[in-house]
């Protein structure tokens, strides 16, 4: 494996500094929301994680297209890495959302469009790994994985749109109190929100890069063995 690039080291250090910094900013410098109380603060990392996950999946689709065009294995490593890290961020978004929903909506799970779409996306991309594990050659894994990653990312808007439409047409069965936990953000909240978004995007890049290097290393090992 090639030596660790300086830029990656910079990403590592920045992530290690900025995550605690963002956490401190959120915990001590953002106002406590009037109705929901402290639990609302989970929101900053929750949305950022969902954003990073989505970004990872989109990137995986783009990298898949890159593989199909160039047929270079490096694109496949990127696609695979982005999906794995995207899955982790998606899981974080779902879990933190559930913890927020429990006191606010009085239930762990709501069949809300965003929540349901995220859960379906997790299932779609779990299937990606099942598909890969069933294929024998790295070439087939890369080629079919790329096709699947592209088709999957294409259906995500359709899924989201269909579930949202489903919800708006149906009568609301469980009323969720206080406009479903909607609130207005103050300038300080906005600042913390955008910093969290930036930090999680950086973290996504950092983790994907590390996972990519692992894929490279594993491939080299296999070729030598």
């Amino acid at each position: 494996m090639s030596k660790k690039p300086t830029l990656l080291l910079l990403f590592d250090v920045l992530s290690l500094i900025l995550i605690p910094a963002a956490l401190i900013l959120i915990l001590f410098f953002t106002p406590v929301e009037r109705v929901m109380g402290p639990v609302q603060k989970v929101f900053y990392f929750h949305v950022s994680a969902a954003w990073a996950g989505m970004l990872g999946f989109i990137f995986a689709g783009v990298a898949g297209a890159g593989y199909l065009i160039t047929r270079r294995q490096t694109w496949d490593w990127l696609s695979l890495s982005a999906i794995e890290v995207g899955l982790v961020f998606g899981l974080i978004a779902i879990l933190s959302g559930m913890i927020w929903a429990q006191p606010i909506w009085n239930t762990w799970w709501v069949w809300d469009p965003r929540l349901t779409t995220t859960a379906i996306m997790e299932l779609i991309y779990l299937a990606y790994f099942i598909l890969r594990s069933g294929l024998d050659t790295p070439e087939a894994r890369a080629r079919l994985g790329a096709v699947y990653a592209i088709v999957s990312v294409g259906t995500v808007p359709l899924t989201f749109f269909s579930i949202r439409l489903f919800r708006t047409i149906h009568p609301v069965v469980i009323t969720t109190g206080g406009e479903g936990g909607a609130f207005n953000m103050s300038p300080r909240m906005l600042l913390a929100f955008f910093i969290s978004l930036a930090v999680f995007t950086l973290l996504l890049a950092d983790l994907v890069w590390h996972r990519y290097r692992l894929a490279e290393l594993q491939t080299q090992n296999k070729q030598e063995a």
Partner: protein, 227 residues
């Protein structure tokens, strides 16, 4: 114009071949049909459904049984080619591979629609509700077209894995969710007598799915089959 006609002819030949195989063996559609009926019975007891079923439940049940039954047909249409290495013959033929996709997709569409046509009167009988309406049939055609084109694409993917056909439902069901939601909702609307204006977003969503998944087949089928 000539290449187009040749392309369409290739599609037709593949579809015709599949239909002939089915006609001679009669091993696909009957299995699909019996399976669909079994799903209806299972759900009937598992969910304790009453005969005075609401339109929403009837359309949901119809689509779930169709989707399950269609999976069998999709797997079969690809594994048939695999069995006697017939796929190699198909691949050796000097034709555009996307034509194979459309041919297979159309034959799968035809088989699932056949099952649906037989299911409709049965549903009308079981749940005391006339389901033989033209708008509903139109929605079934659209929904099945979207579902089988996505299914044909993914069946070609899953057949190449070691687990073979076991994988197809795992790949297909989550990706087919928008199709199923749109199909169930528009069928429910038709059955409960809603105006088209209330349903049009669902119908447009179905049309979008048909276009998108057929475009995906056109673009990627060649890539999926190359060895």
């Amino acid at each position: 114009m000539k290449p187009l006609i040749r392309y369409l002819n290739t599609i037709w030949q593949i579809t015709r071949k599949d239909i002939q195989v089915e006609w001679r063996g009669r091993q696909g559609v009957p299995v699909m049909l019996v399976f669909a009926l079994l799903v209806v019975f299972l759900f009937n007891f598992a969910l304790q459904l009453s005969p005075e079923l609401q339109a929403g439940l009837a359309s949901g049940l119809l689509w779930v049984s169709l989707a399950f039954a269609s999976t069998l047909g999709l797997n079969r249409s690809v594994s048939l080619e695999r069995e006697n290495n017939a796929m190699d013959g198909l691949l050796l033929a000097p034709v555009d591979r996307s034509a194979i996709f459309f041919g297979k997709s159309i034959s799968n569409f035809a088989f699932t629609c056949l099952v649906a046509i037989i299911l409709l009167p049965v549903f009308s009988l079981f749940y005391q509700q006339n389901m033989l309406s033209l708008p509903l049939i139109g929605i079934i055609l659209l929904g099945v077209a979207a579902y089988t084109s996505l299914g044909t694409l993914l069946a070609a993917l899953s057949i190449q894995t070691r687990t073979r056909d076991v994988l197809l439902p795992v790949l297909l069901y989550p990706l087919a969710l928008p199709i199923l939601i749109a199909a169930v909702e528009s069928s429910r609307g038709v059955l409960s007598g809603q105006a088209f204006a209330d349903l049009q977003s669902w119908v447009y969503l179905l049309v979008a799915c048909v276009v998108l998944f057929n475009a995906a087949g056109l673009m990627f089928f060649e890539t999926i089959l190359e060895e």
